[in-house]
C-alpha cells in the first residue's frame, strides 16, 4: 500500500514536470522570427512598418529601459542562446562595444555596409567603424544640435525672433554672455541666457581624450573651464541642475533664453517639459556645431538569422520610403542625408513657429566635427572631466594646473593601461 502510494506520487510529479516540457505545436504559417532589443520604445514604429512590408517576418521586440540595459545586453551576448539577433546601442556605449567580436562585421559581404553608409553624415559614420575600419554598427538617428530659443524672450530682449537674425547675435560665447548680463539686469534676475554650465560644456562633448593609447588633453577643454567660470561670474547662468524640476519648469515659464540641444530635444525635452508653448520656440546655430546622443543598431555575430536581421537593419537605416514616413509621421530626424535633404524644403514644425527644422538640422549635421573616439572617451569626459570642471567652477580647485593634475591622477587610476605624462 505504502509503496503503491509513493510510486503514484512520483509518477504524478514526473508527469507534471514533463507536461511543462512538451514541444510547442509546429508553426503552420512558417513565419520567421527575429528578436530586437532596445533601451527605448521608439523602435516600435519601425517594427510595425517593417512587419507590414515583410509580413512573413515577425519581430519580437524587447524594450529594456534604464541603466541595466547595457549590462543585460552584455551578458546576453555572452550566452549564445539568449542573445537578440539585432540590438541597439546608445552613443555613450558605442565606442566601448564597437570592437567586441559579438558585433557582426557589416562591411563584409553580403551586407557591404561601407557603400550604404555613404548616405549618412560623416560624424555618424565615424562612430560606426571599429579600430580596423570595419562597420559594426549603423546609427539610424541623426543628432546634430542647435540653440533652441524662446521667441517671446528674443523679441523682447533682442528685438527680433527671426532665426537668422538671432543666430547672428549668438554666434560666439562672448555675445551670449553679453546678452545674458543684459537680460539678467533688465528682468530683475528672473531671466537668464543659459540654464547651467552644461549648456556650454556639452557643446564640446566628443573631442577625443585618448590618441594611440595616450591621454591627450585638448586645449578646448581648458578653454571651457574659463568659459563656465566667466558665465557664472557674469550671471549668465540660471543655475538649474540638468534634469531637475526647476530646469524643466524654466522651459514652460520662459526663464531661460537659450537651450543648446540636439534634434531629439524637440520631442523629448521641449515638447515634454513645455507642452503649452507651441509656436514660441525657434532654432538658431550657436557658437559651435555639435551633436549629442544617438542610437546605433548592430547584428549579433552568432545569430542564425543573419539574413532577416540584416533586412531589418537595412530597412531601418536605408529604406528611403520608410525613412521619409518616419520623418513625416514621427517628426524624427534620421541620419540619412539623402532623405533629409529631400525633405528639408517641405518639413516644418508648428512647435518651432513653423520653422523649417529639417532644413536647419540638415545643414547643422554637415558642420558637426568628425572625431575618432575611443572606448575611453565617454568615461573620461563624463566621469572625470565633468567632475573636475564642477570643482573648478565652484572654486574648490583654483588653477588649471591643478585641474590637469587631477584629471591625470583619475585617468591613471581608472585606466592604468593608458600612457599619461
Amino acid at each position: 500500500m505504502k509503496k503503491w502510494f509513493k510510486s503514484t506520487i512520483v509518477f504524478v510529479c514526473v508527469a507534471m514536470l514533463l507536461a511543462g516540457c512538451q514541444l510547442s505545436p509546429s508553426n503552420q504559417t512558417k513565419q520567421q522570427e527575429i528578436t530586437v532589443w532596445s533601451f527605448t520604445d521608439e523602435a516600435g514604429y519601425a517594427i510595425e512598418k517593417f512587419e507590414q512590408k515583410y509580413p512573413d517576418i515577425k519581430v519580437n521586440f524587447v524594450n529594456i529601459p534604464g541603466n541595466f540595459y547595457i549590462t543585460k545586453l552584455k551578458s546576453a551576448l555572452q550566452t549564445t542562446s539568449k542573445a537578440p539577433d539585432v540590438f541597439m546601442i546608445e552613443n555613450a556605449n558605442i565606442r566601448e562595444l564597437i570592437d567586441v567580436p559579438y558585433l557582426e562585421n557589416l562591411s563584409a559581404s553580403p551586407y557591404n555596409a561601407n557603400e550604404l553608409i555613404q548616405e549618412q553624415y560623416a560624424f555618424v559614420q565615424a562612430n560606426e567603424k571599429d579600430t580596423e575600419g570595419n562597420v559594426r554598427a549603423i546609427g539610424y538617428q541623426g543628432t546634430p544640435g542647435g540653440i533652441y530659443y524662446r521667441r517671446d524672450l528674443a523679441k523682447q530682449y533682442l528685438g527680433t525672433d527671426d532665426p537668422e537674425k538671432v543666430g547672428s547675435q549668438i554666434d560666439t560665447w562672448e555675445k551670449i554672455f553679453e546678452i545674458g548680463e543684459k537680460v539678467q539686469q533688465l528682468s530683475g534676475n528672473k531671466v537668464h541666457a543659459l540654464a547651467n554650465w552644461n549648456a556650454i560644456s556639452n557643446s564640446y562633448d566628443g573631442i577625443p581624450w585618448v590618441k594611440d593609447g595616450k591621454l591627450v588633453i585638448d586645449p578646448t577643454y581648458m578653454e571651457v573651464l574659463d568659459l563656465v567660470r566667466e558665465a557664472r561670474e557674469r550671471h549668465v547662468l540660471a543655475e538649474y541642475e540638468d534634469g531637475s524640476a526647476g530646469y524643466a519648469a524654466s522651459m514652460q515659464k520662459g526663464e531661460v533664453m537659450f537651450y543648446p540641444g540636439a534634434t531629439w530635444g524637440l520631442q523629448y525635452t521641449f515638447k515634454a517639459n513645455a507642452p503649452d508653448t507651441e509656436g514660441m520656440w525657434g532654432l538658431a546655430p550657436g557658437p559651435s556645431a555639435f551633436s549629442a546622443g544617438g542610437t546605433y543598431i548592430s547584428m549579433y555575430s552568432k545569430s542564425d538569422k543573419k539574413d532577416l536581421a540584416w533586412k531589418f537593419i537595412e530597412f531601418y537605416n536605408f529604406d528611403h520610403e520608410f525613412l521619409s514616413e518616419l520623418a513625416k509621421e514621427q517628426d524624427y530626424f534620421t541620419s540619412n542625408m539623402v532623405v533629409n535633404d529631400k525633405l528639408a524644403p517641405s518639413l516644418s514644425s508648428p512647435y518651432l513657429g513653423g520653422q523649417k527644422h529639417f532644413a536647419f538640422f540638415s545643414e547643422a549635421a554637415k558642420r558637426v566635427p568628425v572625431y575618432e573616439r575611443t572606448k575611453y572617451d565617454a568615461t573620461i569626459n563624463n566621469d572625470i572631466y565633468k567632475n573636475v570642471l564642477q570643482l573648478y567652477l565652484n572654486q574648490d580647485i583654483q588653477t588649471k594646473d591643478e585641474v590637469v593634475k587631477r584629471i591625470k591622477r583619475d585617468v591613471v587610476l581608472r585606466f592604468p593601461e593608458l600612457e599619461v605624462d
Binding site: 541603466n67 552584455k74 559579438y102 543655475e239 538649474y240 541642475e241 524640476a245
Partner: protein
C-alpha cells in the same frame, strides 16, 4: 510506551531541503561566483582573464575607495549615534503605561520608516534645490537671505543631509525594537527600584540600559551592516553622481558605479569583498566592546 531508540529517519532533511536548495542557488552560488570574479578582469562581455589579487591591490591603492569609505562611516556615525540614543529615550518614555496618547506617538514615530528611502532622498533633494528648492524660497520670502544658497554644493552639508535622512528614517524602527526589549524586563525589578526611592533617571541608567544590553548589541551590529550598505538615499539625493567632489558617494554607490555603470565587474566584486571584510571586523569589534562593558 516509549520507543527504546530514537528513530533516525531522513524525512527531516526533506523539510529543510527547500531552504538549502534555494539558498545554494540564489545565495551561496552568487557569492562564490562573485569571489571568483573578483580575481578576474571581467567586464561583462570579453573573456575574463585571471589577474590574481590585482583587483584587491588596486582597491587598497584607490583614493576614491577610501574617500567613499570615509563618507560612509561619517554619514553612518553621525546618524547612528542620535538614532540609537534618542530612540532609546523615546522607547523608555513611551513605555510608561500612564502616558496619554502613547500608542499614537509610537505610530507617528514609526511612520518615516514606512516611506521608501528613494522617495525621501528625492523629497529632500527637491527641498534643498538651489534655484527651485522650497527651503530657499521660504528663506528668501521671510527675508533671511537675498540670493538662493547652493546647499548641495557644500560637501559637508551633503553628508549631514544624508545622515539626517537616515536618522529620520530609522529612529522609529530602533524605538520599536527597544520597546520590544523593554517588554522583556521584569516589572518587579522596576517596582522594587521605585519602592527603594530610585528616580526615573536612575532606573533608566542603572536598570534599563544594562538589561537592554543584548538589544543594544543587536542594534549596533545591524546598524553597522546597514550603515556600510547605505545607498538609496544618497543616490537619489545626488542623481547617482555622489554630489560635489563625490562627498556623498558611499562605498556601495561606488561599487554600483564601478560594477554596473562602468561594467568593471572584477573590480566591483573586489570592492564588495573588501567591504564584507570591513563589516565583519566592525561587527566583531562592536561585539567585543559590548561584551567587555557588560563584564566590567
Amino acid at each position: 510506551m516509549f520507543a527504546k531508540t530514537i528513530r533516525k529517519d531522513h524525512y527531516g532533511y526533506y523539510f529543510i531541503a527547500p531552504f538549502f536548495i534555494i539558498f545554494t542557488i540564489f545565495g551561496l552560488y552568487p557569492i562564490l561566483y562573485s569571489l571568483y570574479i573578483s580575481f578576474t578582469n571581467f567586464d561583462g562581455i570579453t573573456t575574463p582573464d585571471f589577474v590574481g589579487i590585482g583587483n584587491y591591490v588596486a582597491v587598497l591603492q584607490d583614493p576614491l575607495f577610501y574617500k567613499t569609505l570615509f563618507n560612509t562611516l561619517f554619514i553612518w556615525g553621525v546618524s547612528v549615534v542620535p538614532q540609537l540614543t534618542i530612540s532609546l529615550v523615546l522607547a523608555f518614555i513611551l513605555n510608561d503605561k500612564l502616558l496619554k496618547g502613547r500608542d499614537f506617538f509610537r505610530a507617528v514615530y514609526f511612520f518615516p520608516n514606512i516611506v521608501t528611502a528613494a522617495s525621501l532622498g528625492l523629497l529632500v533633494s527637491l527641498i534643498f534645490d538651489w534655484q527651485s528648492g522650497g527651503l530657499n524660497h521660504f528663506l528668501m520670502q521671510i527675508g533671511i537671505i537675498q540670493d538662493p544658497i547652493n546647499w548641495k554644493n557644500d560637501p559637508w552639508f551633503m553628508r549631514l543631509i544624508v545622515s539626517s535622512i537616515l536618522f529620520f528614517q530609522y529612529f522609529g524602527y530602533s524605538m520599536v525594537i527597544y520597546l520590544a526589549g523593554l517588554q522583556g524586563i521584569d516589572p518587579s525589578l522596576l517596582e522594587a527600584a521605585q519602592m527603594d526611592g530610585a528616580k526615573k533617571k536612575h532606573i533608566f541608567i542603572h536598570i534599563i540600559v544594562p538589561m537592554l544590553r543584548p538589544i543594544i548589541l543587536f542594534q549596533m551590529i545591524t546598524s553597522i551592516i546597514g550603515g556600510i550598505q547605505i545607498f538609496d538615499q544618497p543616490f537619489t539625493l545626488t542623481n547617482g553622481n555622489g554630489g560635489p567632489d563625490r562627498a556623498a558617494m558611499t562605498s556601495i554607490m561606488y561599487l554600483y558605479n564601478v560594477a554596473f555603470q562602468s561594467t568593471r565587474f572584477g573590480y566591483g566584486a573586489a570592492i564588495a569583498f573588501c567591504l564584507f571584510i570591513i563589516i565583519i571586523l566592525l561587527s566583531v569589534a562592536s561585539f567585543i566592546m559590548t561584551k567587555r562593558k557588560s563584564r566590567s
